[in-house]
Symmetry: D2
Subunit: 299 residues, 4 copies
């Protein structure tokens, strides 16, 4: 399969089951909601090093949020409910509770729930109050600008982490611009985040290492400076590879994001130095979700 000169590899991207939650941060205006949301989702590129993968999903108008103020929707993904809750609490406690004028709410109506304000309320030192609205409990914690309002629990659901596409190009400039075009359109989609800085990754890794205690190391098969090595897959004219990693609530969300990304990259095409798109996988043994590139393109 070749689109605009770009080979779409006959392979799949391998992704993992995760748990995800969505919270809505509101504030007096977008400026402050964004400050909280950006800080809260920083240092959250990979569950391996950061325990959680997080990002801003979208901005919300005042008619869409629980308290009628401008807001930001944030998605967080982790390997299990317990870690997810711990990270959610730590990050809301450090980056939202602290941030002027903010409030935080669950952005998912699932039966399965994790603590959002349930434990954070103790920061109130006994002066916190709660209110039950319908079947949801909200805490009001006295702070210096009034009260920090937070919902007691946040919905949690099964989700998928590590969907991806890998783009092969003749130079760094070319792979970067093609990925920027893809990232720009992918990041407008609901229910997904691109957890790495700016949405791109250049440090592809393989399982294992020659050094003890290191469980992963650079994927030397995809490093252009290591073309002489056994197993290095790169064609002579490939000098740069970039990955876009996608976490999504469902398989459909990831499929759609992959489709949009592949379309954007192929739109630039071979004349802009793009040679191939492939999917990152571990032979299908590690992740439960397999996203076949050619099927996605044909959908």
């Amino acid at each position: 399969m070749i689109i605009n000169g770009v080979v779409i590899d006959d392979t799949f991207s391998e992704a993992f089951s995760m748990r995800a939650t969505r919270v809505i941060i509101t504030a007096i205006n977008y400026k402050w909601a964004r400050h909280a949301a950006e800080t809260m989702t920083g240092f959250a590129t990979s569950v391996i090093g950061c325990r959680v993968e997080a990002g801003i999903e979208r901005a919300m108008g005042n008619h869409e949020t629980p308290d009628g103020r401008p807001g930001m929707s944030v998605l967080l993904f982790s390997t299990d409910r317990k870690t997810l809750q711990k990270q959610l609490e730590a990050r809301v406690g450090q980056c939202v509770l602290t941030c002027p004028t903010t409030a935080v709410f669950s952005g998912m109506d699932n039966e399965d729930q994790i603590a959002l304000g349930k434990n954070l309320r103790y920061f109130g030192d006994g002066y916190q109050n709660s209110k039950l609205i319908g079947d949801k409990r909200f805490w009001r914690i006295p702070v210096m600008d009034g009260e920090f309002v937070c919902e007691e629990m946040a919905g949690v659901q099964k989700a998928i982490g590590g969907g991806n596409i890998l783009v092969f190009a003749r130079t760094v400039s070319q792979v970067l611009l093609a990925c920027e075009a893809a990232i720009d359109s992918m990041s407008m989609l609901p229910n997904i985040i691109l957890p790495f800085p700016g949405g791109g990754v250049r440090s592809g890794s393989k399982v294992g290492s020659k050094y003890k205690g290191l469980s992963a190391s650079t994927n030397h098969y995809f490093c252009p400076t290591l073309k002489g090595l056994a197993g290095n897959d790169l064609a002579k004219n490939i000098e740069a590879v970039m990955e876009i990693v996608i976490d999504g609530l469902t398989a459909e969300d990831i499929r759609l994001a992959m489709k949009r990304g592949i379309e954007a990259v192929c739109d630039l095409g071979k004349s802009q130095g793009i040679e191939k798109i492939t999917g990152g996988n571990y032979g299908g043994k590690l992740g439960e979700h397999h996203f076949h590139l050619r099927e996605i393109v044909d959908e």
Copy 2:
């Protein structure tokens, strides 16, 4: 002391000795240097909850950086060298090594040093190379877009965390705008960061709590909804308080930032709802650095 109707309290802000490092992140352009720098300095508001306090110091032109590319200067503060190194390595590993086209260098020429690329090099799985330029060693780690260049060590120095001013106002809108003006001018200064989201803090805390295991809780003396409580300091007309926390390399850096911040807040003055500026302290028993507000104003 009263400036433009604003009472400058006769007290001090109490700050703590810390260790700090500066790294310079370069990339093919600002967009990608900023992606790495913002992600790396996220979730870094307070050493208590995040182990490190971090922020972007400034953008750097290509004539100022070690490799002649556009860059961002980042400051990180922690309680001790060991924690600082651990956080620096984790954050560079997750947010810079991964980020397309970046490189990272020490931004401080101190004899005292912590590992920057020294251990990250093992990600190269034996394919990494080093080069000695003068007395500095640099590592080149093969990645998918070429090589990630990082300096082996980064300078570290004594520094100060937790310098602050506290602004008392009649309403939230007023305290927020006065602090925004202060933050805008303070954040242009070198050698400092304002670690909290957007530079402002509304969750002032006191030492201790009525709950076991919680070492800090809301500073109920400064909560406008708790005015009836014993010890609550707030005058009847104060409905909002906000803090600006400053970490700086030296006492002079913090003094200058406090001075600029106080000037900006007083410029709005009593007619814009600002009543008082004070300093956060613990009676002088916890922190080694005392910044007297009135002295700073008079400098």
Copy 3:
């Protein structure tokens, strides 16, 4: 009618019939589409001084744009078709044709049309080509990065300019933050723009002046420093007034924006210094469109 302590005046906002067009600017990524869109819509706050009122409507994903690339939707309003076309051509010629990688398309499928690329094509010095796709003609003009693609004609339709709300507050800080909250939510709506810088206006004007040749001058009835003057409407406690001006494709679009704005301002309410919301009008004699505030709130 009083909402959260804020008086909703029993009056209307008076607006004018205009002509509007929408164009879609695409580029290799959002960064460059935004550069073109921001530059093209600058210096376009008021038809009186700028001949056109313009702004970015929203970002568009690659699946939404005519050429499958990331894009920006831009709205332009003017008093008549001829002026609108002249401004559209001048601004596309100076700010889009010049901008790397961009293309421009009509964003309205109306029978009524004005020239978009029809005359700009002559920049091609005879080397331009056209292609008919369906019933639309597109021009390809050779430029240094390849070809500038632009649709020949852009749809134009009747529209409305000068919808507005006026917010009265006790201080500048308060009126500014209330308007920021309103602007943040209003600017997410389709089919409208807020043409003034950042969406806010503080220079309300009245018809006429004591100086010859000046057709408008400061609305001294709403200036807090002129409270002693005959006709000055301001209550003793009002120290700041701000206007939000809305241009929209239809009356419904403006009504919805006004509703969202009023809700946002009232959400802050009297406790945040907001006293009243009114509408700017000229007694109903100048503009054909009257938007009654209380009706809009009740919708």
Copy 4:
């Protein structure tokens, strides 16, 4: 002369004498100063189509501005004093006078001056006041958020417009990224602006046209789709050319910007698809200022 594989052409960039002014816009915070400055400098890419070329020079801290508030420094260039004044007045009147909380001051202490607030004051309808501080007169015009303060006159000086470099590359992606790197570093310099959208230009033009009444048309010698034409200079492997235009207060300012830009482009070099850098000129007959590329590189 070849740097990192990039040919530096043995030619010069030809630039024109202009008149320039600098104004400082202050506001309650950067957000609002930036709103005014961006709007005021929009649609100002070329004197031919916009009458003025304008841009933001830099942000200023509260200790640097005349009224001690956060500010933005803006530069405007035009062909002559009269046009410059007319544009300055129109743009300040539409985009600064209207913008909440702003004030505007001269940013140049020259004896030669043009009107800044001198005529705008009549908007005050007789209620304006002036104050003489030293030898400078300031006007205070009543507006709805208090008073708009503007200096009566702004300094004006001789300046230079149209300094430039032209970058030749193998693909659009590559020329764009190289120019972004150059623009990022050039835009940090004082005394210059890059007037085109995002700093880049892809519509190089030649004097004259085959169509009557058109004084300029596409420079077909530099269009990659027109390689077969007589006079088309492009080598077979050049598929994209981009220009960076620089306006500066002095020849030294432009030389420094060109130097930084050339360095940034060459840093990417031939391996990233960059083949040549040249200068745009008209044989030396139109512009009084000639900037020789090789001299500038050697400085």
